[in-house]
Symmetry: C2
Subunit: 319 residues, 2 copies
C-alpha cells in the first residue's frame, strides 16, 4: 500500500490563551503526512512551498521518511502563510490572515512514480485541485477527503464533483451540518452519504468523533485532556493516522475503520499538547499503544442484563 | 434500598420546530421519579402541586408505583408552570415564562416514613430547599444532586453548602464550566470534585456524558437519534434512571456507576422521542436492554496491537 497526500504545506502563526508561536511548520499535508508516516513507510507528498521555506522544515519531513519528490518549490513566491487566534475555550478560532503566496498558482502535477498510489488523502484544498489529483492516479483503492466551510460556500459544484469520487469524507461537526444543511448530525451524515462517500467521519473536537460506515455508526471518545495548547492540525493528524493505520491493515472494512478512527483520535490527542507538530515528532510506539488502551478503557462498562429483574418485579410500565 | 426524589412537578408548555404541546406533565421530580420507577419499586416523591393539577397526571404517577405521600397539594395556588421554546437545532432553548405559583412557598417537609430513605435525588431546585431535605433524612447512603445556571449565579453559597453533602453531582457541560469558572471540561470536573462530590457527571446532550469517579473517567456515547422531538426532561430522566439502576445493584462503586450512566443515557434517549414523558410511560424491559446493547456496540472496536510492526519497521520517529 502506498499513501499519497495532497494539501498545503504552510508557515503557521498561532496565538492561544497560553502563548504564541510564529512561522511554525504547518499545513494540512504536513500534519497528514507526518501522522501517516508513523504507521507506514511509503508516504508521498504533493504540495508547494516558496522561497522562504526553511531547510530545517524540509529536513523534518525527510527524517520522517516522507517522499518529497512531489513537493514543488516555487522560487518566485513565499510559502503559504496562515495566522490564527484561538479563543478562551479553544473551540473557536479567528483567522488573522491567509497569505496564499505560492499556493495561489499551485498546480498539483503528480510525479510519474506517484500515479499508482493506493490510499489517496485529499487534504483541505480547493476541490478543483483535489479533482486534478484524482484525475492523475490510475487505480486508487481508497480515497479520503477533507474540506472546509470556505469550499462548501464558494465552490459547491466542484466540491460535489469530488465527493462523488470519495470513499471517506472527514469533516468537523459544523462542516457536516453546513454541507448537509441539516442541524441533526446523524441526519447530516446520512445525507452526505447520498452525495458519494459511503463512509463519513465527523470530528467533534473535545467530544470525540463519529464514524458512519454504510448503515453502522461508531462513536469514538476524545482522550480527556486537561491541557490543550494548540488545536491546530488535530483534524489533519486524525486523517493522516487513519490513512497510515489502514495501510497496515490492507483492508477498508468496518472493523478496520473503527480501529483507524481510534488511532486517529489517539494521535490527534498528542498533537494538541504542544505548539505545531512538535509533539508528533517524538512519539514512541509504546505511547501510542498506551493511549489507544486508554481510549478503550474510557468507554468500557461491565455487562448487566436487568431484564429478568424488571420482568419479574412487574416494574416495566408497558406490560 | 429506597429512593427519595425531591424537585418540581410542573405543567410544561413546549414549542419545538416540530410542533407545540401545552400543559404537559413535567418538572424535575416527575421525570426523575418516573425513570427511577422503571428499575425500582420503592420511589418516594417530595414536591408540591396546585389546585389546577389534573387528576389524570396524579394517576400517571400512581400507576408507575410512585409513593405520593410527600406530594403536597396547595389549594390556594396553581401548579408551577414553565414555558419554553427550542431553537432549530434543539441544543438551545429560550424560557418563555416561569410561573412559580405553588412552588414559591414550597417547604419540603418529609413524611416520617421518608426519613430513612437511602438514595436521595435532589432534582433541580433552590439549594436551600435541597438542604432542607438533606437535614431531614437520617442516614442517606448516596446523594445525587442536579442544579442549574440560575442557582450557580444567584445562590452560590447555598449551592456550595449542598455540594459539600453530595456524593454525585449531575450537570450539563455549560453548568459545569460555569460552576468551576473553567472552560476545559476535564479541569472543570476536577475542580468540582474538590467542592464536595467525589463523583461528577457531565451531560453533553447529543455528545453523550462523562463520568468522573474519583480519579477515573468514563465516556458514555449518546444514542444516535435522527428525530429528537422534545429534549425536555432528558437530563432528569438520566439522573432518575441512574438512581433506579443503582438501587438494583445496592453498591456505588465505579463499575456500578459506569453502568448507571449507560442506563441513564438509554432512558434519556427514549424520552426525547416524544413530547413530555409520553415515551417514558410505555417502555418494555426488552426495549431498554436493546438500547443498552446498542450503546455498547456503538463504542466497540477490535483489539489491534501495532507495536511489533512499528518497532520492527523503525517507523517510530522517537527512536
Amino acid at each position: 500500500m502506498s499513501i499519497l497526500v495532497v494539501g498545503t504545506v504552510a508557515l503557521d502563526s498561532v496565538e492561544t490563551p497560553f502563548g504564541a508561536a510564529h512561522r511554525l511548520l504547518g499545513g494540512s499535508a504536513t500534519y497528514i503526512a507526518l501522522a501517516a508516516s508513523y504507521f507506514w513507510a511509503d508516504v508521498r507528498l504533493v504540495a508547494v512551498v516558496g522561497r522562504d521555506f526553511p531547510a530545517a522544515y524540509r529536513q523534518v519531513l525527510q527524517r520522517a521518511g516522507i517522499d518529497l519528490e512531489g513537493l514543488r518549490l516555487n522560487e518566485e513566491e513565499d510559502t503559504f502563510a496562515w495566522g490564527g487566534r484561538y479563543h478562551y475555550d479553544l473551540n473557536d478560532r479567528d483567522t488573522l490572515y491567509t497569505h496564499l503566496n505560492a499556493l495561489a498558482s499551485f498546480d498539483p502535477v503528480l510525479p510519474a512514480t506517484y500515479r499508482n498510489s493506493q490510499i489517496i488523502c485529499l487534504g483541505n484544498l480547493d476541490p478543483r485541485l483535489q479533482q486534478r489529483v484524482l484525475d492523475q492516479v490510475s487505480s486508487p483503492a481508497f480515497v479520503i477527503c477533507d474540506t472546509m466551510n470556505y469550499w462548501i460556500e464558494h465552490t459547491p459544484e466542484a466540491l460535489h464533483a469530488v465527493l462523488r469520487r470519495v470513499d471517506c469524507l472527514v469533516v468537523n461537526d459544523a462542516e457536516a451540518r453546513q454541507l448537509a444543511a441539516e442541524p441533526n448530525l446523524i441526519r447530516a451524515a446520512r445525507k452526505i452519504q447520498t452525495m458519494g462517500p459511503r463512509i463519513v467521519i465527523i470530528k467533534k473536537g473535545e467530544h470525540g468523533a463519529l464514524l458512519f460506515f454504510e448503515e453502522a455508526i461508531f462513536s469514538a471518545p476524545a482522550y480527556p485532556l486537561e491541557d490543550v495548547f494548540d488545536p491546530t492540525g488535530a483534524g489533519d493528524t486524525f486523517a493522516g493516522a487513519m490513512a497510515g493505520f489502514l495501510a497496515t491493515q490492507r483492508r477498508f472494512d468496518e472493523a478496520a475503520l473503527r480501529q483507524a478512527v481510534v488511532y486517529g483520535s489517539a494521535l490527534a490527542s498528542f498533537v494538541v499538547e504542544r505548539f505545531g507538530p512538535e509533539r508528533l515528532l517524538a512519539l514512541t510506539p509504546e505511547e501510542i499503544a498506551q493511549r489507544v488502551a486508554a481510549l478503550r478503557q474510557l468507554t468500557a462498562f461491565p455487562e448487566c442484563d436487568l431484564r429478568p429483574l424488571l420482568v419479574q418485579s412487574g416494574l416495566n410500565h408497558a406490560t
